[in-house]
Symmetry: D2
Subunit: 365 residues, 4 copies
């Protein structure tokens, strides 16, 4: 209700500000007896971590996850799992210049007006630093889903006007290797090179740029999703729109599909051995809000980062015109690091819906 | 949790199947002492009603709302408002041919697999008929929001590849008049003519087409939205993605904005008299997930209707190949009727967030 | 949130006022493929119905349940089940004398102050008439639980200072027969006779009296209950305290147990064949908030009905002193009819927790 | 849903096991600009802390609260407040003897069966140590309520068969002084002396005893509580029943009131200056589930502590009979420390309902 929890049965609640003592998360509803692979959690955090490459922010954070509860002898116990990630490299003085100014297209103004107070340091709670907590919890969701054979793969499919060609999704682990082989996390090597070069030029110009992330979820059982409001794609949309800087979500044929005619767009059912499949997948693996066993596919759009290394006119808290300079350490483009956040939130949605569906699985005949 | 409720404080729960006795809704959490204008509720339902024009389904339903509770001497009492809408023109026998076949790109297969049983008549619960209940509740949300000066306006901005030019949003009631002057509900008259003609040709070809709806919400107070997960746009996204046939959502600059660079995209604050405004509105009236007082703008993409008046190959429940014919009464394009559903869901989101914000308004200093 | 829903996965939302058009309920989250025995639902409603005997209110209501949705060919479909119960014998004019007076120990004053408006007829929403909706939904919960062998039995164990001796709980269906053989619903025949006679004398004196109901739930699987807040007994307590006129709840050894010393009170584990049991059951079948497989036992206290057939001083809406007379048709003691409400709410709690537990059953190893 | 959260708008989620690294809580939905008095939080924790006196457990914990987020320059910011309480004096080896045995009337058996794994050290999650997190969050709730003039006072009104006489509730701060003047936290000095002596004798006998706590909440506005399910007393009941060892709850006249007749039990309204009051308060300050402005009163029953310093027969995980010895450091009676837990949970319930009511306060006319 107060907005810092996500999920119903597999539920996270996050806390923490960019420049406070720590950020963290409580995961409530994780099934018991899941092997909690701390090295995997850390490797996921490392992919989101600042300071990875020349095209990410230079803030130095080890983002070391401390598991405080809910795990006993390496396994989940079914009780809440609390994870703490201390903040290390805050440099709060970088922000004294904005303590009473509203940065354009940031949340400074709305937080101040809504709450009548704000921790201005690094954007406080509105900073994307909070998403590290989501990644840590998402890593546990992935460990749970892996037991069920479910895979999630996201990559950067667009930066500015650069678009990746459609990928061959046959082997997701091959794609993962390709993605991790470059710093922009696009699984198409040629496009990746182009993107890196473009982001670097944008960075040098003190500017920023937006981008797009495409995701595929594989091996879902048929039946996830709770119509009419908690459709699987509706919850995926909410999860993605809750990530900082996201301005758009589409699944399956998406916006482009709204230009189609029905006779082209319908996905015809057929049999592939024992399995019911569709010949095309404009439905993005979801029909009537429920997974149909095909790949679930969606795409997310991120606006350009609002902090640019330039002077911009703005207002201060007194409502007077002033000028704000670009300072601090920021990403010229969020999508390379956001890939792992998108995967984490997708994993959390799927874990939650898997449990919901499972609640009825033994009692529905 | 089970998926048929939406909202927290201003909360609806809907029920009913396409060919059952009735559909309806309970609205729990409506503030007391709202004048419940039944004629207005009915007029909203009339805009969503089937059989309005040659480009909508010919099913005949009066969609008469019966208020069963929660209203006393014309005003809301603060107790649950139940609204019943009897089904009248079911013609269930139109559906006997699909009782054991899965219509392509419909929810027949996923409902059957999820629940092990389905009311196949007219798609049962997965039918868009259920949205009449949302419109009735949304009408009450609008009555509540009107007290606070909040206006919501949606119109059809795209059908197939036809796109409406950008509107001048100065006067929303003028636009409403323009929209209601044509059967496709596009507020640009020339585009509307083109759309109607195109949809009619598609209908005659036994085919269907997708479309897009654009929405503006005006006069929101600053402060609606509950980060980090229940951001205003995240809840709008979930609400819209929960409408039948929706495949995409974007707010503010949306997908197009993800191609921009930051120095172009930032919305610069300035003063307009006493009011803080932004010179541009790429943020779509929402920053950090919280309304900033500017117009909230978003766009929704609808896939083409899955039922076409043609033979299509498919599978039956036994997994055998078969052919399904197009029968029944269906819309060639959903967007003309969906405009009012989009407005209703938007009104429900805003009403809920207004109450949430209000919960803290007297206690935050 | 707005208070008219109960349960998470197996969730009801009720609506309706004592003298409105109808009362009713939506049950969301009922598993599919449950045989919905309408005759059983009606028989449950008949046990709660007014006008059953000389010791209940003489209001005449057939309390006929109409199933509007969620059932297809006699079985639940997994979609919301809406049940409507029309009001028939309202006699609202009986209440014109209280339209601007606050009846002592009723909800007139608090509703008026909270909402600024109230439907004064028969107490409006605060009337126990609303509980018929709970009984209808509870009947479906019982049908679901019966599939799992779970039995629920409640009876009147106290009226005024009259206390039933402890029952032999070996055979619950025998006890049910004994209970239904008398109009006060106490399963001990001698006590029942005494209670009926006492209530009748109280009724003739124009007065009312309180009472107590004892309940046993049998054949629960081990594992129901979600610590640390949603303990099984905590949710039972909330369910019971939400019934009109209830002032107390205790489970297992209850208030009496708080006078014990630990060495007497501990329940020693032992084996009964393959089954783990406890030699005593002071724990009331729940340890650490989780069912342990023994009988779950609890007791509920009801205050005397507030409407008495006598003149009482009170205030009117203007705050002036006035006198209110006892009119209308009321129960001299609620417990004979409340037995079935207690069972219904218990069934709803257990159904909800059974689904919650089941959500993890296949994934916990 | 997973059971470790309480409240809707003012919502806590706790984590931690008795012998893990730490316990803690996230409080989401605390209004902004509340002065967060850390010394007060600590003083509340000190009242619940182990090792206070000869009649409490001798485990040594400083229970130092660390505020990790949500507070800026001494005030709440409206974002989640995370509080960490490290565990210091675990002595887990005290528990090796129970690693595969089920202690009688503890949660060992049910946790093992429900989750298939358990942290046996000190009872793990089922330990009352977790309630320190509730006390920390409850302290913040009290700071919030104090701004609104709302006071909460609890004391030990019964230990074993010893009962405190009814208190004169005129001055709650006087009573607080009386309560804190003795180690059993009973505000009647003579009874306190008797209780202390009795508990000490019980302790020396290696045994334990149950008790009762009575609470009064003063200066509530009229209107808190959300019928029909989220009645104020229903949420108080759930909150109290969720505290370890609680077996009973009653409010107002409680179980005793169920023996009354209506003409004695009704609370007659009258005017005290401008204020509407009732001459008696059998209603316990709540009518129809809504606060009426009078003192809210309730009583809670605690069973005797299950750990006794004696040998008891029991079963091990293999289902074999065995003997368990009483070891570890435990309270002979929980009520002296539970007083502050009861107050904390009451404060959390009231804070939540105050916000809920406030959500409608400006919009209801």
């Amino acid at each position: 209700m107060a907005g810092n929890s996500f999920g119903d049965l597999f539920r996270i609640t996050t806390f923490g500000e960019s420049h406070g003592a720590a950020i963290g998360v409580i995961l409530d509803g994780c099934p018991s007896n899941i092997v909690i692979d701390e090295a995997f959690i850390q490797s996921e955090l490392d992919k989101r971590r600042p300071g990875q490459s020349k095209i990410t922010t230079q803030r130095k954070e080890s983002d070391t996850a401390q598991l405080l509860s809910g795990v006993f002898e390496g396994k989940s116990t079914g009780t809440p799992i609390a994870i703490l990630i201390p903040n290390e490299d805050q440099r709060s003085k970088d922000y004294s210049h904005i303590s009473n100014k509203f940065r354009p297209s940031h949340a400074d103004y709305t937080y101040q007006m809504k709450y009548g107070i704000r921790d201005y340091r690094g954007g406080g709670r509105s900073s994307a630093r909070e998403t590290a907590a989501r990644v840590a919890a998402g890593a546990i969701a992935k460990l749970f889903l892996k037991q069920h054979g479910i895979e999630i793969f996201a990559h950067v499919s667009g930066v500015g006007t650069i678009e990746s060609p459609n990928l061959d999704y046959t082997d997701l682990s091959d794609l993962l290797d390709l993605r991790e082989a470059n710093i922009v996390r696009c699984a198409d090597p040629a496009t990746a090179t182009e993107m890196v070069s473009f982001i670097d030029s944008i960075r040098k110009a003190g500017d920023t740029v937006g981008g797009r992330i495409s995701t595929v979820i594989r091996n879902l059982p048929v039946g996830l999703g709770e119509p009419v409001f908690d459709k699987l794609h509706a919850d995926l949309a909410k999860a993605m729109m809750g990530i900082n800087a996201v301005h758009g979500f589409e699944y399956g044929s998406g916006f482009e599909g709204s230009k189609h005619i029905g006779s082209e767009h319908n996905d015809i059912f057929s049999k592939e051995g024992d399995k019911t499949v569709t010949r095309t997948n404009y439905s993005g693996g979801i029909q009537g809000g429920i997974s149909n066993g095909m790949d679930v596919t969606f795409r997310v759009a991120f606006k350009p980062v609002a902090t640019i290394m330039r002077d911009q006119p703005t207002l201060n808290e007194a409502g007077e015109e002033t000028v704000i300079s670009g300072k601090g350490r920021h990403d010229p483009c969020v999508v390379p690091r956001a890939v792992i956040i998108v995967e984490a939130m997708a994993a959390l949605v799927i874990a939650d819906h898997l449990l919901k569906h499972n609640a009825y699985l033994n009692v529905r005949k």
